[in-house]
């Protein structure tokens, strides 16, 4: 089978062994990404959106294990030994994390942290690597890159640190960039700068980008396709227009309705999804969303609705798709 998917994920399931029993953080997730495409992965804390990508990057906590298949082009990469995985991660696939302060080593100058990967993976000399690092810092909009490359992480502001993280992730021209809530810790004006930067870089490098976020506004401006997660499972997928203008799953619909809008004056109460996000250790039989759902039927508490495709690249995990 030949496809041009750069990343193909099939039946990915990730479990954690905890003192209170086994927790399924990611359950039977399938998706793919093509070159130059931006996929938005939306969900609340505990929905499993981050764990999917930690699994495929081999970065799970020690008590976690994954099954299923993750292919980078034609290479199976799930559960590869670190030595093998290191040929791909950080080179062809990079990840940016939410908190740039805790993902940078506070004891090492930026220059050291950036050149290491180039010397290791690209066999560059220190001098060449430094030149490339400075060029990349310049590209992501850090003023005075040639001087600032010799500073420590604490000497940068939050927005600048996130730029450093992005520059590091792009050093080896990755084909897949995974951004895990890259702007959540930033102020809105700085967030706007970083989102512009990601958009520009994608145009320049044609990188496939995954945007993991809880902010539906960020997704609306940046993504081509969207995958909505709830309780460790994908509940809806579709193009960004389909998701925002023709959402099918009640959770997607609820999320969109509950967001206060800066472009609307609204005198009434906000629509609020009742109840709490589900506890993964104690998921109900049937649909995980049933207790919060306005369309709940008897069937929802007995069996779990499967993710059902109903159009090209469109799927929703709700019995309403069966036509009542």
């Amino acid at each position: 089978m030949t496809t041009n998917h750069i990343l193909t994920v099939e039946n990915l399931t990730t479990r954690f062994q905890t003192p209170d029993g086994e927790v399924e953080a990611v359950n039977n997730v399938n998706f793919h990404i093509d070159p130059g495409e931006t996929l938005g992965v939306v969900g609340e804390s505990g929905s499993g959106k981050t764990q999917i990508f930690l699994s495929l990057m081999g970065l799970l906590a020690k008590n976690g294990s994954s099954s299923g298949s993750v292919r980078y082009k034609d290479t199976e990469i799930l559960n590869l030994p670190a030595r093998e995985l290191n040929k791909i991660r950080g080179v062809s696939m990079s990840m940016i994390f939410q908190d740039p302060m805790t993902s940078l080593n506070p004891y090492l100058k930026i220059s050291k942290q950036m050149t290491e990967v180039l010397v290791e993976h690209r066999g560059m000399s220190e001098a060449e690597a430094l030149k490339r690092a400075i060029a990349m810092l310049d590209r992501v909009g850090i003023p005075g890159a040639a001087q600032r490359v010799h500073m420590y992480p604490h000497e940068f502001s939050g927005g600048m640190r996130q730029r450093v993280m992005i520059a590091m992730a792009l050093l080896c021209d990755p084909e897949v960039l995974i951004a895990d809530e890259p702007t959540t810790a930033l102020d809105v004006t700085v967030q706007a700068q970083i989102l512009d930067l990601l958009r520009d870089l994608q145009k320049d490098f044609n990188t496939a980008t995954v945007m993991i976020t809880h902010d539906l506004g960020v997704v609306a401006g940046l993504c081509d396709r969207v995958m909505v997660m709830y309780g460790g499972r994908v509940v809806e997928t579709g193009s960004v227009r389909d998701i925002y203008y023709d959402s099918h799953h009640p959770y997607t619909e609820g999320l969109l309705k509950s967001m206060p809008r800066i472009d609307h004056a609204n005198e009434e109460n906000l629509f609020a999804i009742p109840g709490q996000p589900p506890n993964l250790q104690n998921l109900p039989t049937g649909c995980a969303y049933q207790e919060r759902c306005g369309y709940v039927m008897e069937r929802c508490s007995k069996e779990r609705p499967p993710l059902k495709a109903f159009d090209q690249d469109r799927a929703s995990a709700c019995f309403r798709e069966d036509g009542q």
Binding site: Q193, S258, P260, I262, N269
Partner: protein, 338 residues
């Protein structure tokens, strides 16, 4: 000094809170052995009135002084200058014994719902603590009854009274914080980023709860937030802070429909809208650079280093808060020509 009054039918009543030229300056030790202290002007001359039942939004980026302002109003941080008049009486510099009875009316809700609850106290003890402090005459049974009533009111099951904070989710912990603030039936609550740490689906629940409580108890709220979408929903008037200075103060509809300060315009245009068509086609003002260090703010207008319209005058002269209409004040030399 003239201070604007809100439009919505509240002019007849007098403000419950009047803040005049409020300043909070922190002394930061200078670099070097004999170097003089440096002044960090966290809040630098803020004026506003707050009316019963009104919600004032305080917005700005991290480090703009919005939390410091909230705490200085409650005298949790001693102001360095200016006045905070509560029901007509200045409370800046009041001794502890005079402040204590006022605290019944002045409460606060914090951003991190779990960190602001003592992990060794049951939630019953946490919610009861203000009653025990301020109404020692109440008997144990009465206190318990009031706590249970308040728990039910904020959406917590009263039978959970003996549980500990770690047993609750973030949204429920914030409800506990709200119950603790509400138990004395205060007149003013300072809400310091009360929903920022919560999931999207929970934010709406808490915002609705605050609005219901406000209507029920005629509460005044000072709602500190960096989220301009939520502020638009919940606030009657909005104050935009930048480096401790008010950039714009206006009622809600004016500030969103017709922002006059370049910083307000940039802030509003930077908020992503959850609608792909609108979000991709809207006009945006992208600010360059970061917030300057509050230890060495720019000369003249504090915003000029990031302002796309800055001119020579902005570097030499600090603009004053200028009234452009009955309900809108702006701190910009060029608000007419922008």
């Amino acid at each position: 000094m003239t201070v604007m009054t809100p439009k919505s039918g509240t002019q007849d009543t007098s403000p419950i809170l009047s803040v005049r030229d409020l300043k909070v300056h922190f002394a930061i030790p200078g670099k070097g052995l004999f170097a003089p202290d440096r002044q960090l002007k966290a809040v630098d001359g803020v004026n506003f009135d707050l009316y019963p039942g009104e919600t004032l939004g305080v917005v700005g980026e991290s480090g703009c002084g919005k939390s410091t302002l909230g705490r200085a109003i409650l005298q949790l941080i001693a102001p360095s200058g200016g006045q905070v008049a509560w029901l007509g009486k200045n409370i800046v510099g009041s001794p502890h014994r005079e402040m204590q009875p006022l605290r019944r009316d002045l409460q606060i809700i914090f951003q991190d719902p779990l960190a602001s609850l003592n992990p060794r106290m049951t939630i019953g003890e946490i919610i009861a603590e203000p009653l025990v402090t301020h109404k020692p005459e109440l008997g144990k049974e009465e206190i318990k009854a009031r706590v249970k009533r308040m728990m039910a009111r904020v959406g917590l099951l009263p039978q959970m009274i003996n549980r500990y904070p770690h047993e609750f989710s973030g949204g429920q912990c914030q409800r506990i914080g709200i119950a603790r603030a509400m138990i004395l039936e205060p007149k003013l609550i300072v809400c310091d980023e009360p929903v920022s740490a919560l999931d999207v689906s929970i934010q709406a629940q808490i915002v609705n709860l605050l609005q219901e409580l406000q209507r029920e108890f005629d509460l005044s709220l000072i709602f500190i937030s960096h989220d301009l979408s939520i502020v638009r929903h919940i606030c009657h008037r909005i104050m935009v802070l930048y480096l401790g200075n008010v950039m714009e103060l206006a009622d809600r509809d004016n500030i969103y429909a017709n922002p006059r300060h370049p910083y307000t315009k940039a802030l509003i245009s930077a908020v992503p809208i959850p609608d792909p068509e609108i979000e991709r086609n809207k006009e945006r003002i992208v600010l360059t650079g970061d917030l300057p260090s509050p230890l060495s703010p720019p000369s003249g207008c504090v915003f000029r280093t990031r302002c796309p319209f800055a001119k020579d005058k902005c570097a030499s002269e600090m603009p004053k808060l200028d009234r452009v209409s009955d309900t809108q004040e702006v701190t910009c030399h060029f608000h007419d020509s922008l």
